[in-house]
């Protein structure tokens, strides 16, 4: 119990001290010792984040391997995921080792596999969203009609009609541009301001030791 509390104390002290020094370094001119120290800390963070990605991949493989070993429900999918992951790693190693020959010489099969499978599938799924969105908007007021649903529908129709490039319909395009720039932009700025305030609040919590995630 005592060691745990000591770890908490040390982690808190470390985080707060590094946070303060980084803040000071980011606030000073480049080339100054605080700025250099802050840059060093940030580089360290980048390395740790990269390692975290690697750890995440390893953990993903371990989880799926455990499911396969315990024959849990859906274990075939876990097995497929492990096989594909190992295959991509092997493919990537082969690409890096330039093991391909013949027509495949100089090819990066790992990149092709990524483009052929991952990008195609995700792009297709993203394309289907269009149909669902249109149908959802079609049935928007089927259950109930409210003022806000009418407003939403009106804004949607204005954005769509204004987007259609029609000759002689520049008015609609201008209206859409105005609508996006003024109304939508205003709301977006409000959202961004809220995000900025939240970020500041989170930083203050960390620097003051109020954030429990830094206590180990």
């Amino acid at each position: 119990m005592g060691s745990h509390r000591l770890i908490r104390l040390l982690s808190s002290v470390l985080v707060i001290s590094l946070g303060l020094t980084t803040l000071v370094g980011l606030s000073t001119a480049e080339g100054t010792p605080p700025a250099d120290f802050a840059a060093f800390v940030l580089s360290l963070v980048m390395v740790i984040a990269a390692v975290a990605v690697f750890v995440g991949v390893i953990n993903l493989l371990a989880v799926h391997l455990g499911r396969v070993r315990r024959a849990e429900r859906g274990w075939p999918y876990s097995l497929l995921a492990v096989i594909v992951a190992l295959g991509v790693i092997a493919l990537r190693i082969a690409d890096r080792a330039e093991l391909w020959s013949g027509d495949l010489e100089g090819e990066q099969l790992s990149e092709r596999a990524f483009e052929a499978v991952q990008v195609s599938l995700e792009s297709a799924l993203a394309g289907l969203v269009l149909f669902f969105l249109v149908y959802a908007a079609y049935r928007l007021m089927r259950r109930r009609v409210t003022v806000w649903s009418l407003v939403f529908t009106g804004a949607l129709l204005l954005a769509l009609i204004g987007w259609i490039p029609l000759d002689g319909a520049e008015v609609l395009a201008d209206a859409r541009a105005w609508f996006i720039r003024v109304t939508v932009g205003g709301g977006a700025r409000g959202i961004l301001i809220g995000v900025g305030l939240g970020t500041v609040a989170a930083g203050v919590r960390v620097l003051t030791g109020q954030d429990r995630s830094i206590r180990g």
Binding site: A49, E111, A137, R139, L160, P165
Partner: protein, 1138 residues
């Protein structure tokens, strides 16, 4: 005011009074607090929990105050230099709103600053009393009643200086008596001044009264508007007694009883009498009374009349109040709810001294009161003040001989027999086969407070029948509706009882057998077998529900008359007989956990919902003793049987069975048939029980209602009020108990208890082991849960390596337990409903998107417009690029947005490559970094581009013509790291680590040490605003132009970052892609050429895509608009049908 003889020492005051006292020092000027003159007469501060009497009650002069007899201004503060009317300035304030007509008889008073009586005016407004009182009505009675209501002297004044103050006050008053002002000049006691928010001027500063200028008698608003002005008759004015000024100076509440006796023959007079000279409102003057506030009308004193000799002051006052109560019973009585709280305390009076016992007094004391004299200390205060000389009880003629108890009738209260049959009562549980039949109850036996069948109008008794008219000033204001009003009366009744504290529970002495009413004494035996007694002819003729105050309480007559107490021993009862409860001796209506108004309401409402008595079933000849007792217990909770009979109801009420059994006990929809009735053994008296039985009290202490020495327990929930599930459980338990052999008290557990019933043995199984009483029934879902729990336990026992997490997975379905039997098959899913509209929309959109790729007939869209504004800024940034410069492309998007952003990225890349710049791709998203290479690879062999470049290349070479940098970890931190620069020892810039290796980990050999110096343009391509924001924020202030390429969805969020410290411009979506390509890449992009072997001619895919997007948008707009119109019409049609 040091010269004030009545100066009160602050040391005797409480803090709150001391504050006032100190505050008066600050009061200066013409207006000063009235209490400055009469300091020390403040009433005691009202308690927080129990408010004390109102100030006017404590210091108000009674109607027959002695100083009234001496004429005007008997109080010392009325004489002397200060004008006698100085205390009325609160009364006459607000003179600007005084009625136009001068009030001749009203004594004028110096005007006080407006607002001094805001509390009164506000009160009048808050009470919503109309101002329709005609000024010419002349009814001033209500005004006098307002002062009349001020009770006797305040006993709560500080005791330390009270005597001395009185002496001083008396002395001064006697000296100043000779200089009394005229009759019209009167003075209010100091208690009235306490209520003034603004202090009136001191006595010595007040201007003298000017009776000849009554128009200046400024009255408060509420008085001005509602005061019917009429001069009091001269004959009603009490005669002056100047020959006895010293006596007149002594208030009645200060005078000794002997002095009061001497003054009693004198008619009450004084300020109040003079103001209340008008006769009480009569029926001939309804309009005059209509506008009078109810609470004031109720307090209207009767006309002055001769006080009969031999009456004490309290008696006289009580008589006055009775007369006032008569006027109070007006149709506007419901307006009593408007009475402010402070006025409810007006009737708080000190308890009357106990009168001497008179042996020849009328014997109208209820028999149940006999033997309870020694418990006077337990009697509530209101009962100690009970005065039975008036009211219905006094009129009850004591029977010469006590009526013999009717043995054949089950001695249930008549009110119960007369009560209509409640629908929800399970008569089987009550021990009878059929509901009791007695269509014509004996009204005389019905306690008034339980006689709920009486109508509202019946409850309004004549004034002579209302012994305690002051109830109306204390009771809870009636609700607007009639039923609610009746409930309000009951509520008031309930609140008058003092519920027992937990420590007081069961400390009462159990009644002996001879102290109990006959019906209760013979309850178990004769009560169920005997025929109901025929009511007396006179009683039969009485209508049900009508309160028969004349009818004697027959169940009270069974007691011996010689045990009755004289009337004088009974203190007055402070509520009318209509609401007066007729408490039965030790009447345990039900056991309850707490006595509150809601509980008693529930009890009374249960009696109200009773149906006709004719529907009461005949008691069955055979009934099990337990059930019969249960029935009685459920209804009356008789004290004699509650200890012996196991209280199953209590067990059910505890909620434990409910929690334990939960859903296992399905409710039984139908009531079980009536169980056979069997003659029950006579219940033993409680005094015969062992001590340990006496101590076996339930944890939930029932609240006992103590009324006039009798107690009544009220149960919060009765059997009929229980949920169906609990009732079914109870019935089931009773059925099972009925199968067991009945045993007497021979059991070891109940040894020593006379006539103990085997209920304990029967009740324990139902309470302790519910499984024996109710078979456990599990639903399939519960069985499944049990199986999972068992599987979890088995996993933990069998395999030590299994962790709890794994067991949880098994339990919650993530893993299949090995030995769990197959669960019932899942319910088949409901087949999906075919939606034609959905199919139409999908097909329509699909056709709209694909058709432009097949034919150019549907190419209706206009050509892309040229780049403007922010889009043109992107082109300008690219135009500024020089050959060989590095352009950093941040691919901050994944495969999901590849379909929309890849063409856009390629458009800018093509333009950049065409200008000889070297694109460097980087990403904080691993997928983006990986995808960037594929995007650039698509341009590597574009001949048009290569041709434009003019470098004789056959193909763009990765690492040379473009570089795909590595994944930039750390997101914002990684982006921030791009600003870092590393200096070599020789003072030159070192290579930036981010640009040192490419995606494959090879050395890039890029001579980039500083982003600001070596990068000519930064292009951020993102589908999320977070990426755009990160790059804009982390590179803010860096002297590198930046542009953004975003999706159409992210455009509104990316636009705010376009600025001096952000992006120079942005391109969004497919539309800007086409526009940019059309304007910038027309010669760097090789046009698509259809295969020559195709039988049909297809449009250019790039052009077809543009038109496809336009047509798709148009069709989507049409569908959405159509759906909106259709749904709107449906909604309108639906509403039209409604």
């Amino acid at each position: 005011m040091p010269d004030d003889p009545n100066r009160f020492d602050d040391d005797f005051l409480g803090d709150w009074l001391a504050d006032f006292s100190s505050g008066e020092e600050k009061a200066s000027g013409p207006v000063s607090a009235p209490w400055e003159q009469f300091a020390g007469r403040y009433p005691e501060p009202p308690g927080h929990e129990q408010p004390g009497p109102a100030p006017w009650e404590t210091f108000a002069a009674p109607a027959s105050a002695p100083y009234d007899e001496r004429g005007e201004g008997g109080a010392p503060w009325e004489s002397g230099t200060p004008p006698p009317m100085e205390q009325l300035d609160w009364f006459v304030a607000g003179g600007e709103e005084a009625p136009a007509e001068p009030v001749s008889y009203l004594p004028p008073a110096p005007s006080v600053s407006a607002g001094a009586e805001d509390w009164l005016s506000g009160f009048g407004e808050a009470a919503a009393y109309s101002r329709a009182v005609p000024a010419e009505s002349g009814d001033q009675s209500w005004l006098g009643a307002a002062e009349e209501a001020a009770g006797p002297a305040a006993p709560s004044a500080p005791a330390a200086d009270w005597l001395s103050l009185r002496e001083e006050w008396l002395a001064q008053g006697s000296l100043e008596e000779a200089a009394e002002p005229p009759v019209e000049e009167f003075t209010l006691p100091g208690w009235l001044d306490e209520e003034l928010p603004i202090s009136p001027p001191p006595a010595d500063e007040l201007p003298p009264l000017e009776p000849e200028r009554p128009e200046e008698a400024a009255l408060p608003d509420w008085l001005d508007e509602e005061l019917p002005i009429s001069p009091p008759p001269a004959d009603e004015l009490p005669p002056l007694e100047p020959e006895r000024p010293e006596e007149a100076a002594l208030p009645g509440w200060l005078a000794s009883p002997e002095e009061q006796e001497e003054r009693r023959p004198s008619p009450p007079r004084g300020v109040i009498r003079r103001l209340t000279a008008a006769p009480p409102p009569s029926a001939e003057e309804p309009e005059a009374e209509a506008g009078v506030p109810e609470w004031l009308a109720a307090a209207t004193p009767p006309p002055a009349e001769a006080v009969p000799a031999g009456m004490t002051y309290e008696e006289w006052e009580r008589q006055q109040r009775e007369q006032e109560a008569e006027a109070q019973k007006t149709p506007e009585e419901r307006l009593l709810e408007e009475i402010p709280d402070w006025f409810k305390q007006i009737e708080e009076q000190p308890p009357a001294p106990p009168p001497a016992i008179q042996e020849q007094g009328p014997e109208f004391v209820p028999g149940w009161f006999l033997g309870l004299e020694d418990k006077a200390q337990d009697v509530p205060d209101w009962f100690q003040r009970l005065d039975l000389t008036t009211g219905p009880l006094a009129e009850v003629k004591p029977s010469a001989e006590p009526e013999a108890p009717v043995p054949a009738e089950p001695e249930v209260p008549d009110w119960f027999r007369a009560a209509p049959l409640p629908e929800g009562v399970d008569w089987a549980m009550l021990g009878v086969v059929s509901p009791p039949e007695s269509a014509e109850p004996e009204q005389g036996a019905v306690p008034d407070w339980l006689d709920t069948s009486a109508t509202v109008g019946d409850r309004i008794l004549p004034a002579e029948d209302i012994p305690f008219p002051e109830l109306d000033l204390e009771q809870v204001p009636p609700l607007p509706t009639e039923p609610a009003a009746e409930e309000g009366e009951v509520e008031d009744f309930v609140e008058r009882f003092e519920p027992l504290e937990p420590g007081e529970f069961d400390q009462r002495v159990p009644l002996a057998a001879d102290e109990m009413p006959d019906w209760l004494r013979e309850l178990p035996t004769a009560g169920l077998e005997a025929e109901p007694p025929l009511p007396a002819p006179g009683e039969v003729e009485e209508s049900w529900g009508a309160p028969s105050l004349e009818a004697p309480l027959d169940w009270l007559d069974v007691f011996e008359p010689e045990a009755a107490l004289p009337v004088e021993e009974v203190p007055p009862l402070p509520w009318p007989a209509a609401l007066e409860p007729e408490p039965s001796p030790d009447l345990d209506l039900a056991e309850t956990a707490a006595l509150d108004s809601a509980a008693l309401d529930a009890l009374l409402s249960a009696a109200e919902v009773a149906g006709p008595v004719a529907a009461v079933p005949e008691p069955a000849p055979e009934t099990e003793p337990v059930e019969s007792l249960q029935d009685l217990e459920a209804l009356f909770a008789g004290a004699a049987v509650e200890s012996e009979v196991p209280d199953l109801q209590r067990l059910f009420d505890q909620g434990e069975l409910d929690r334990v059994l939960g859903e296992a006990v399905p409710p039984e929809p139908e009531q079980q048939p009536a169980a056979p009735v069997e003659t029950a053994a006579p219940p033993p008296v409680r005094s015969a029980q062992p001590e340990w039985v006496e101590e076996l009290r339930p944890a939930e202490l029932p609240v006992t209602v103590k009324a006039a020495g009798a107690e009544a327990k009220v149960r919060q929930r009765q059997v009929t009020e229980l949920p169906e599930r609990l009732r079914a459980l109870r019935e089931r338990a009773l059925r099972e108990l009925g199968t067991l052999p009945a045993e007497g008290a021979e059991g070891e557990l109940l040894a020593g208890i006379p006539d103990a019933l085997p209920a304990a043995e029967l009740a324990i199984p139902a309470a302790v082991s519910p499984r024996t009483a109710v078979p456990l029934t599990l639903t399939p879902e519960q069985q499944q849960r049990v199986q999972r729990l068992q599987a979890m336990l088995e996993i933990g026992q069998d395999t030590e390596e299994e962790t709890l997490e794994e067991a949880a997975r098994v339990a919650f379905g993530e893993a299949e337990p090995l030995d769990v039997p197959a669960l019932p098959a899942r319910r088949p899913r409901r087949p999906r409903r075919f939606r034609l509209d959905r199919l139409v929309v999908m097909l329509g959109m699909l056709v709209a998107l694909l058709a432009p790729f097949v034919t150019d007939v549907l190419h209706f869209a206009a050509d892309p417009s040229p780049l403007e504004d922010d889009q043109a800024a992107v082109a300008s940034a690219v135009d500024n690029l020089q050959s060989g410069q590095y352009v950093l492309f941040a691919f901050e998007y994944g495969p999901v947005a590849a379909g929309e952003l890849d063409p856009l990225a390629q458009a800018v890349l093509r333009d950049v490559l065409a200008r000889g710049a070297v694109p460097l791709t980087i990403s904080t998203d691993p997928a983006g970094a990986f995808h960037a290479r594929a995007v650039l690879a698509a341009l590597a062999d574009d001949q048009a581009l290569l041709r434009v470049r003019g470098q004789g290349e056959e193909k763009l070479q990765a690492g040379e013509d473009y570089v795909t940098l590595r994944y930039l970890s750390g997101e914002a931190v990684g982006v921030r790291s791009l600003r870092n620069v590393v200096w070599n020892p020789d003072g030159t810039l070192a290579r930036h680590p981010v640009f040192s290796t490419d995606l494959r980990g090879d050395d890039t050999n890029l001579p980039i040490g500083s982003l600001a110096q070596d990068i000519a343009l930064v292009v951020v391509i993102g589908d999320q605003v977070s990426a755009v924001r990160t790059w804009a924020e982390q590179l803010s202030g860096l002297a590198v132009p930046r542009v953004a390429l975003v999706t159409a969805a992210a455009e509104p969020l990316a636009a705010p970052y376009v600025g001096q410290d952000g992006y120079a411009g942005y391109l969004a979506g497919v539309r800007d892609t086409v526009r940019y390509d059309a304007e910038r890449n027309s010669n760097t992009r090789t046009p698509f050429r259809m295969p020559a072997d195709l039988p049909i001619e297809l449009p250019d895919p790039q052009t077809a895509r543009w038109h496809s997007m336009a047509l798709g948008a148009a069709v989507a707009t049409g569908f959405i608009a159509l759906g909106t119109v259709i749904n709107l019409l449906r909604v309108l049609k639906r509403r039209g049908h409604r």
